[in-house]
């Protein structure tokens, strides 16, 4: 069982001093969504759980000041979470050597499985210190899914007319209460002061009105352009069930289309955000 291996590893890491805190999943009751737990003593290792409720992207916890204060972390990641971890390293937010990464094979989280799982192609994390797999003889760590599968929902959405799309978003954003849960759970929203909280000038209207909500969601999505690692935590966290995944997909598709880039897939690749190429497309520029 994976959970036994996890607990054993957790206890060992803490007792050997490899890590000062193990960030993993805990659960109040079977079937309830798992939440992050921060285990600092080997004897607490049995608080860890591993099941299909472990949806949270724990990479997002690393940005928090209070977590940083706990000392060197060991963090449990799924394939999708690992992509965020790689992006954090690319953006100088973490130093890979200072984190112990426990990869766990995942073949779908959530019940029913989250939308992202259908086209998942990193079932076994690769950028890890240890990997725990279901069985040894599983299929390859990376299964390539055609990009059409990844963006199928987007493509279907884009078949609507622009007017219908705008109407859709007006309805979606109309529900937004500006709780910023999307920002809070995003592993890559690590700014010390979010632009949404900036005044003088006030770039984004802070009120939860269409004006402020459009400005916020445009900004959130675009700040993650070619960076979003596709964990979909924003969409899951949204109390208003705004389809934020669709916006993330749009920019992911653009990044893959233009630069052949998928955020967090290759720790060696140079990110296209903040860079340029002389060959960039400019058919839209007159």
């Amino acid at each position: 069982m994976i959970v036994d291996q996890l607990r054993e590893l957790c206890a060992r890491l803490l007792s050997e001093g490899t890590a000062q805190v193990v960030i993993g999943y805990g659960q109040a009751a079977p079937g309830k969504p798992a939440y992050p737990v921060f285990i600092r003593r080997a004897e607490d290792a049995d608080q860890l759980v591993w099941n299909d409720q472990c949806m949270t992207n724990l990479a997002a916890t690393l940005k928090r000041r209070e977590v940083k204060a706990l000392g060197k972390p060991a963090v449990i990641v799924k394939g999708c979470d690992e992509r965020a971890l790689i992006m954090l390293a690319k953006e100088s937010q973490i130093v890979r050597a200072n984190i112990y990464v426990i990869g766990v094979e995942c073949n779908g989280a959530g019940r029913p499985a989250m939308a992202k799982c259908a086209s998942c192609d990193v079932h076994v994390p690769r950028w890890t210190d240890t990997v725990i797999r279901e069985t040894e003889s599983q299929a390859a760590a990376v299964r390539t899914t055609p990009s059409s599968a990844r963006y199928a929902d987007l493509e279907a959405f884009m078949r609507k007319t622009p007017e219908a799309r705008l109407a859709f978003w007006r309805a979606e954003f109309g529900r937004c209460v500006k709780c910023y849960a999307c920002r809070q759970v995003c592993p890559l929203c690590y700014c010390e002061r979010c632009i949404a909280d900036k005044n003088r000038p006030c770039v984004i209207d802070t009120s939860a009105t269409p004006k402020g909500n459009f400005a916020w969601h445009i900004t959130r999505a675009f700040h993650l352009a070619a960076r979003c690692a596709g964990c979909d935590e924003c969409a899951r966290a949204c109390p208003a069930h705004i389809d934020l995944r669709l916006l993330n997909l749009a920019l992911a598709a653009a990044a893959e289309d233009h630069f052949g880039w998928r955020a967090g897939m290759d720790p060696e690749a140079e990110p296209p955000a903040g860079a340029y190429s002389l060959k960039d497309k400019e058919d839209f520029i007159g």
């Binding site: 953006e91 100088s92 937010q93 690590y190 700014c191 010390e192 002061r193 979010c194 632009i195 900036k198 003088r200 000038p201 006030c202 770039v203 700040h223 955000a273 903040g274 860079a275 340029y276």
Partner: protein
């Protein structure tokens, strides 16, 4: 509380014809924060400026808007006026109601409405301007010249003669560059070495010049006025101080069959050698790949035994030296398109049809220079490489690689027409009865006495010129069968030649890209370094304090390279003539408190002006990581502002607050 003065200019009839000046003046007076609104016929005239100065003082203005022409026309004028009256010049904005309004919109109502909008935006902007002072940058009055060819030599001597110190870095064991290997020079046919070697000696002996030969630039830090350059001095295995250059070592070295770089592979040198007799410094170097001792760790060592000065040091290692300089001059020169099969660039495909490096008697132009040179491997006798016979018929082919899009190089190498004419002359002079055939596409001989020179080759020396390219060269019975065309006669031409000389394209020297990246200098698609402006700033680059000259910039001949070198030296001296450098203060700054240290700005800055830094407490305790703008490097483009997700980057003169208030001022 803002006290803004708005000064609307009629520009004679230019503005007043289409813009209702009175209405503008009255409306503007009601705008919030506007203390006074006046108009005048010519704001830029002395009485106009006097009014501005008076109002600044009498109304204690905190900002100034001049609604007149383009800021490109008069912003400096009005800033100066403000400064004279005691107002910080960066508290001046212009509303362009002439070029952008009265000159292009002739409906009076519309033009007046637009003028008001433009002024309203400027008022909002100026309210949020900050007082700025020009940035002062200390200046090191020392220059670094990279490349010791004729361009580098000229630049170094010019600066040194003006009394400033120069560090000259040369990759090869001796300075002199390509020119040192040339035979005679067009259009005068004076001996290349005769004119160059005295200059080389001058460099070697100049008290202001510090020579680093067999050295390369390892890294560059800093910015204009304050560069810190690390130089790698490659292990020479010869103590430059002890060595007297007597020659006992190379005379005794038994490893003889090493192709001489100086002779372009046409001759040989020893494992310990000086590249050529007039080398500066006249100190040998050991080829670590050829020397028995250095290859095996034991054995030979004959040179060490023979050296009475005890200058041989087999334990020598590369050394890193740091030099400070206020300006850098790049003069790294060129190399030739490779006629051997393997190309260093995937876009270049080589000349299979000319036999690649297959036929020994197909040589390139620099090899021919060595063959004709009195100091060359044949002592100046033109003997062909394969069997040493004197070729009775030589074919010269121009535009090999140059102007050949299919082979990857679209440009003209500029000097080949001239040196090919020279080659035919030298060959004809040395080989009575010999035939010189030239295949050319165009003869480009613009220059003082240049065309006359080419005509002389044709008319007096009897070189045969065919207007056409060569399609294929094959070898048969010791002859090279050259199949070309004479497009003027409208016929294919086949010539049986004893030797073929290819005027191959000039390309930037190896390693220049890495160097350009270290210096933050741009280069074009062919790898030639980019000047700042093709007409008006031909030796400057977009990296402040870095100048270029010679063939690293584009193919050019000796006089042009020398002229450009003197220009680069002149630009350097202009800089050195100042007490300190001042730079425009409208640059970026980072709010270190809110910076999340994602370093997107660091990656994106076109000037590498943003650095990774740490915020420390006064006692030096780490608080956080942050990005930080180097004031010496920032040019104020603002790319970092747009890239920064938390808007921790800000650009003076174009702050977020200013721009947003301008946009919002348009909301009605």
């Amino acid at each position: 509380m803002a006290r803004i003065g708005v000064f609307t200019c009629w520009c004679g009839e230019n503005v007043a014809r289409h813009v209702d000046i009175e209405k503008v003046t009255e409306t503007v007076a009601q705008m919030p924060g506007v203390r006074c609104s006046i108009n005048y016929k010519y704001m830029c005239s002395d009485p106009g400026q006097a009014q501005i100065r008076d109002k600044i003082q009498s109304e204690r203005l905190t900002g100034l808007v001049v609604a007149s022409c383009s800021p490109h026309m008069h912003l400096k004028t009005f800033r100066k006026a403000a400064q004279t009256a005691g107002l910080n010049p960066y508290l001046v904005e212009m509303a362009n109601i002439r070029e952008h309004c009265s000159w292009v919109h002739h409906n009076r109502e519309e033009a007046t409405a637009k003028a008001l909008d433009l002024i309203r935006m400027s008022v909002e902007k100026v309210k949020r301007d900050h007082e700025l002072v020009p940035i002062r940058v200390p200046l090191t009055r020392r220059a670094l010249v990279i490349g010791g060819g004729v361009a580098g030599i000229q630049a170094a001597l010019d600066i040194a003669d003006a009394g400033h110190e120069v560090a000259l870095v040369e990759r090869e064991p001796s300075i002199g560059g390509k020119m040192a290997g040339l035979s005679e020079t067009f259009p005068t046919l004076d001996c290349s070495q005769c004119i160059l070697t005295p200059r080389m000696v001058e460099v070697g002996q100049h008290p202001n010049i510090k020579l680093y030969t067999y050295s390369e630039v390892e890294s560059v830090e800093g910015y204009v006025g304050n560069f810190k350059i690390t130089i790698r001095q490659k292990a020479r295995y010869v103590d430059m101080v002890k060595c007297t250059g007597c020659g006992d070592c190379w005379n005794s070295c038994p490893i003889k069959k090493n192709l001489s770089e100086f002779d372009c592979g046409m001759g040989f040198r020893k494992a310990i050698y000086i590249p050529f007799p007039q080398a500066v410094p006249a100190r040998p170097v050991i080829d670590r790949l050829a020397c028995t001792r250095l290859k095996r760790g034991t054995g030979c060592g004959l040179c060490e035994k023979k050296c009475q000065a005890k200058a041989i040091n087999f334990a020598d290692e590369d050394k890193l030296v740091v030099e400070q300089a206020g300006a850098v001059i790049v003069a790294t020169g060129y190399k030739l398109y490779n006629i051997a099969k393997e190309q260093d660039n995937a876009q270049l495909s080589g000349y299979g049809e000319y036999g690649y490096g297959k036929y020994k008697d197909v040589i390139d132009a620099l090899q021919f220079e060595r063959l004709v040179s009195a100091s060359g491997p044949t002592g100046g006798e033109i003997k062909r490489p394969s069997d040493g016979k004197i070729p009775q018929s030589v074919v010269f082919i121009k535009c090999v690689g140059s102007r050949d899009n299919a082979k990857g190089l679209a440009y003209c190498s500029k000097i080949c027409c001239m040196y090919t004419a020279k080659h035919t002359m030298l060959y004809k002079h040395k080989t009575p009865g010999g035939e010189a055939h030239v295949f050319y596409m165009d003869i480009r001989a613009g220059g003082k006495a240049y065309d006359e020179f080419v005509r002389r080759a044709i008319e007096q020396d009897g070189a045969k010129y065919y207007r056409g390219r060569v399609s294929k060269i094959t070898e048969e019975n010791g002859k090279l069968i050259v199949r070309g065309a004479d497009t003027l006669a409208g016929a294919p031409v086949t010539i049986e030649a004893d030797m073929v000389v290819l005027a191959v394209a000039m390309r930037p020297a190896d390693g220049v890209h890495a160097l350009a990246q270290k210096l933050n200098v741009g280069y074009d698609e062919f790898g030639f370094l980019s000047e700042s402006h093709p007409k008006l700033r031909p030796v400057e680059t977009n990296a402040a304090g870095v100048f270029i000259c010679g063939a690293c910039h584009a193919p050019k001949d000796i006089p042009e390279a020398v002229a450009q070198a003197s220009a680069a030296a002149g630009k350097t001296l202009v800089m050195f003539g100042r007490e300190e450098l001042t730079r425009e203060p409208e640059i970026a700054r980072i709010n270190e408190q809110t910076c999340a240290a994602c370093y997107t700005c660091v990656r994106g800055c076109p000037y590498t002006a943003i650095e990774r830094a740490e915020t420390l407490t006064p006692k030096g305790v780490h608080v956080k990581y942050t990005a930080r703008v180097n004031e010496g490097l920032c040019m104020g483009c603002g790319t970092c502002v747009a890239l920064c997700p938390s808007k921790s980057a800000e650009l003076e003169g174009f702050t977020e607050q200013q721009i947003y208030s301008m946009v919002e001022s348009l909301m009605t």
